[in-house]
Amino acid sequence: MEFIVEEGKHLNNDCSTLVLPALSIGNVGQLAVDLLISSTRAERIGYLDDPYVLPCVGNDAYGPIPRGEVALPLEAYDSSLNKLTLVQQRSPVLKGMMVEFAKNLAYFAADSGKKHVIVLSSLDFGQWQRIDMSSGSQIYYISSANMDGADDDCEKLGWKKLHEYNPAQRRWKYLSTLAAGNAMQEDGLAFEDELEDEEDYYPSLPFAALLSCFKAKGLKVTCLLCYCSEGDNIPDAFNLADAACKLLELSPQNFHGDQGGNWAIPFSWKTVYGPPPDMSLF
């Protein structure tokens, strides 16, 4: 992976926290990062050229009026005011290369001097085992602060450590081994024919690869997770973005948007779920 700085821009060493999405059901992590970039008016500072990300381009995703600024699949933004770097990923990863991609991102984060990485991801409601009355708005987390994934800062915010996180579970251990570069992914083919159990779900998700790879580079990592079903996931994005702000001690009231809490909706969200219906039918 090569980090290419945009002309006239530079990486701000003061931006010691990195926020990025993990591919997940409903694209919630990506939508949340869109919201954060748009609302903090983060400035694009460069691109990440990675052979494992599928190519895509589009017009300026944020607006308020697209000016023809071409958007690439993996971009880095800085919000100097909030001392924050955000990486947005717009397309999937090549089949079977998620761990390699996560390693590349971890190298980037470490090389650019990041101290804390926040990964935003969603989880499938269908895997929700411990049902509570929160109706899904509860934020879960896994942190590298302690071996068991717990973090006092997250607990104080009312979040729950993901109960199903078990670093001793076979697939979590295997991921750690891959992240440290001590095994080849072919070794994992033995998993394929075995009956999967429910514990295999969480370490199989992209956020787990990112968590393992960032940990292997010695970075502090916090994964923020929320359960959702696939559909209109904009409310889930707001929930997750709001959680990220709480962890970062940012107040959405200070943002520049015109939505409730001053969130700024990205311009590209006007058609995020497809074009409007053909009114000529009526």
Binding site: G58, P73, Q185, D278
Partner: protein
């Protein structure tokens, strides 16, 4: 995707799952080429869940049948195709009572179970009542997209460039890359061009290609446009390039062995990625430009954009594949680049539109026109993946 899951349950009133099988073997079936169905996986997990002799079900197994719709498949056609297939399975008889569509998955309610009959159902009564907790397969990602342990595809040999000249790198004032069928049609009939090289993609067989470059060849030839435009290079991409290979090809074409001052990429609007209306009767084109191309003609500069009179591609819509990889390389390498996407993808009107765009860029470019004129362009409707192409004959 359709997922029909059977699993024995205590409550036969609501979870009518009766799958009888005489032994405990695990079966895997892979049946492809169903209409509208991309993949069918029929897996029976031999998990012995219930050994209640008082009930009909002695052995219970989990049967999972997964169908994945092709991307362009209309939902109704896809469902009909699947049902037709299920009825054709002589092992199974069932009646469809009710159906529902759930987040991209489709469940079929079954009644009247018989021996060797299976009935599709939710996994439990709770899932029947709360559709949100049923596990539908995701419709925006394939399962393998969200699985760290998906094995990678077998590696392919790297693509490479072959040139007739040893002068490398090749420098040009303009590099034109034709990807869409209309643009390939137009450039095929450019009168003055010289073949100078080709890009070899090892997985694309060369059998079936003609000795002289032909618009039906599976090739990616590189031409120099002669005369006035001595330093204009043209790349005609006459085979489909997968998204997975696009990055490698883009890096080959731009910035290493070929160093252009400006790049023009001609592709079509991709209906699957476009968030506006697309009518086959309409003809239009949009553009995307790199920052250096925009800077070239902004803020009182005397330069003009490479493509005038075209609106920017609407925000929210996307372009993927080789065109996207090429424009991305231009953006990252600070090269003046323009991507033009036109609509429709095929047909004479698309060809005429692209021809008019090219003539604005290269006004003196000559095209060979025979007596059929535009009709000949219309014949070259679908250059890639032509149904009559044969790999057996050269």
């Amino acid at each position: 995707m359709i997922k029909i899951v059977t699993e024995n349950s205590c409550d036969t009133a609501n979870s009518i799952l009766c799958f009888y099988i005489s032994n405990k073997k695990k079966y895997h079936f892979n049946i492809l080429e169903l209409n509208y169905v991309d993949c069918l996986r029929f897996k029976i997990k031999a998990k012995n869940k219930n050994k209640n002799k008082r009930r009909k079900v002695k052995w219970a197994f989990t049967c999972e049948v997964t169908f994945r719709a092709r991307k362009t498949a209309p939902l109704a056609a896809f469902i009909t195709s699947v049902l037709d297939f299920l009825f054709s399975l002589r092992l199974f008889k069932f009646l469809c009572l009710d159906t529902w569509v759930l987040g991209g998955s489709f469940g079929v309610w079954i009644s009247e179970p018989e021996t060797l009959a299976f009935v599709a159902e939710h996994r439990s009564r709770r899932n029947m009542e709360d559709v949100l907790t049923e596990i539908p397969p995701p419709s925006r990602f394939f399962k393998e997209d969200l699985n760290n342990f998906t094995p990678p595809s077998p590696p392919l040999p790297s693509p490479f460039l072959l040139f007739s000249s040893l002068d490398k790198p090749l420098r040009s004032s303009l590099l034109i890359i034709a990807i869409s069928s209309p643009s390939l049609s137009v450039f095929h009939h450019v009168a003055t061009k010289t073949l100078i090289g080709t890009l070899i993609l090892p997985e694309i067989p060369l059998s079936g290609n003609s000795i002289e470059p032909s618009v039906r060849d599976k090739s990616c030839n590189i031409y120099a446009l002669n005369d006035v435009y001595n330093s204009v290079l043209l790349v005609s991409v006459q085979y489909s390039v997968s998204a997975e290979r696009s990055h490698a090809i883009a890096k080959l074409l731009i910035g290493e062995q070929i160093i252009p001052e400006r790049v023009l990429i001609m592709d079509s609007v991709q209906s699957r990625n476009f968030r506006g209306k697309l009518s086959p009767d309409e003809t239009f084109a949009f553009k995307l430009e790199t920052s250096s191309e925009r800077k070239e003609h902004s803020d009182g500069s005397s330069s003009s954009p490479l493509l005038k009179g075209l609106d920017y591609f609407p925000s929210g819509s996307m372009v993927d594949g080789l065109a996207a990889a090429l424009l991305s390389q231009c953006q990252m390498r600070n090269i003046k680049g323009t991507l033009c996407v036109s609509w429709p993808e095929f047909g004479g009107s698309g060809v005429s539109l692209v021809k008019s765009i090219i003539k604005e860029v290269l006004p003196s470019l000559e095209f060979s026109v025979n007596s059929d004129g535009e009709d000949e362009y219309s014949k070259l409707d679908q250059i890639k993946d032509h149904p009559f192409d044969s790999e057996l004959y050269t």
